[in-house]
């Protein structure tokens, strides 16, 4: 017999999402919204964390299937902890990105998730790598991802500057995420930022009612 389930019940939980990473003078900021959705209509979580720490100063931003993303980042975290024991040193950001790429490329028929890997290491300082769906690895000074990123390519292309201060980069990130959340109905909730520098890691949460307001808001 044919049972009719709503679209949301058969497609699984997705971070249909906006994620972002940008370098500034002395570090890197990563950011995301906090909405998890099923199908395109049901908000299954308002406060999901999409910025996964895989080592002390290395994070992954996740977009796409939440189950896939959690499985991949968990494996990456394990491999990196093993790698850092072998090397007797914190891993390079590029090593983390390469592990992500290897996992995504080897399993690309099964996976429906894309990642941004960002962090700081002593060899090259702040770095950002994109591992797209399918497993391509690319280094970028800033990058965006997820369904909401479509709406803010124009904004970030126009506003990005190299060597921003921490304050400028924080404002850039908050504005970009707020603009995406304003147009994409599977992005929303709060802005979650992580600032990664040589000195360490700092989390910032901007609640929905404190987000900057733009046209029509």
């Amino acid at each position: 017999m044919d049972r009719h389930h709503p679209y949301s019940q058969v497609n699984g939980v997705s971070t249909g999402t906006t994620i972002l990473a940008v370098k500034f003078n002395g570090g890197v900021i990563i950011g995301s919204d906090s909405r998890a959705s099923m199908g395109e209509s049901y908000v299954s979580s308002k406060t999901i964390n999409k910025l996964i720490q895989v080592h002390d100063r290395i994070f992954c931003c996740i977009a796409g299937s939440l189950a896939d993303a959690q499985a991949v980042t968990k494996m990456a975290k394990f491999q990196l902890s093993f790698h850092s024991i072998q090397m007797e040193s914190p891993p390079l950001v590029k090593a983390a990105a390469s592990i992500m790429r290897e996992l995504c490329y080897s399993n690309k028929e099964e996976l429906r998730a894309g990642f941004i890997t960002a962090g700081w290491d002593r060899k090259k300082g702040p770095q950002i790598y994109v591992v797209s769906l399918g497993g391509m690895l690319l280094s970028q000074p800033f990058t965006i991802g997820g369904s909401g990123s479509t709406y803010i390519y124009g904004y970030v292309d126009a506003k990005f500057k190299p060597d921003m201060t921490l304050e400028e980069a924080t404002q850039f990130s908050t504005n970009a995420l707020a603009l995406a959340m304003g147009r994409d109905n599977v992005s929303g909730g709060v802005v979650h930022l992580v600032v990664i520098t040589e000195a360490g890691v700092k989390h910032i949460v901007v609640p929905g009612d404190e987000l900057p307001k733009f046209h029509d808001e």
């Binding site: 479509t150 390519y153 124009g154 970030v156 126009a158 603009l179 995406a180 147009r183 046209h215």
Partner: protein
């Protein structure tokens, strides 16, 4: 099979679309309306320099997106209807009248037509005005964007739009928005066409590809 090595080019079998970026924005005293110039069929560029801004009357223009054939036909029909209308009322038509005529056709034939037109212009009753006519919905807005490239500039226009811009600021805003969209959308490109309309008349301008402003990665 050799057919797979050399698939036929898209323009032989795909519908021709102005898959496209269009924008119209009000400023203090008038409107600026703009478009890119790429016409595509599948992944082929059919025309590199098509002007997608069509006059509906002396001070009323529309920007075309969607099926090139449908959009052009709607513009031609409304242009004719407005000419008759302005003779009947012995005056220049209102921008709202032009938008209503476009809306009527879009709604009545919405199963057949696949086009979205933005209508913008100046009239003595309401000054500069912008109307969007998505599938027969008529909505007046301070600015409107449309076409496949418009998705990439939603954030930019929401952040950068200001009421009561000067004419020059508005022209710059329009060119920047088009450039950012053309940089990301494969179906938008070429040159930027810009028409500025105020009570003194209309001013047409074409900004060549090598004269467009440069942003990240350009």
């Amino acid at each position: 099979m050799s057919e797979e090595l050399f698939p036929e080019p898209g323009w032989l079998s795909e519908e021709v679309k102005t898959g496209t970026t269009i924008i119209a924005v009000t400023f203090d005293g008038g409107v600026v309306i703009g478009s890119d110039s790429r016409v595509s069929a599948g992944e082929s560029v059919v025309n590199r320099v098509m002007n997608k801004l069509s006059p509906l009357h002396d001070k009323i223009y529309c920007a075309l997106s969607g099926s090139a054939a449908d959009a052009q036909t709607i513009a031609e029909i409304v242009n004719y209807q407005l000419d008759v209308h302005s003779i009947e009322v012995e005056d220049d038509p209102l921008v709202c009248s032009a938008a209503t005529l476009v809306k009527n056709i879009s709604y009545k034939y919405k199963e057949e037509l696949s086009a979205h037109l933005i209508v913008a212009g100046w009239d003595k009753k309401g000054g500069g005005q912008v109307y969007a006519t998505l599938s027969g919905l008529l909505t007046k807005q301070p600015f409107a964007i449309g076409g496949s490239g418009s998705f990439y500039i939603n954030g930019f226009v929401d952040a950068e739009y200001k009421k009561n811009m000067t004419k020059r600021e508005c022209q710059e805003f329009v060119v920047n928005a088009l450039t950012l969209a053309m940089g990301r959308d494969g179906s938008s490109g070429g040159v930027a066409y810009v028409v500025t309309i105020d009570k003194d008349g209309t001013e047409e301008k074409c900004v060549l590809g090598n004269e467009l402003p440069k942003f990240f990665d350009e």
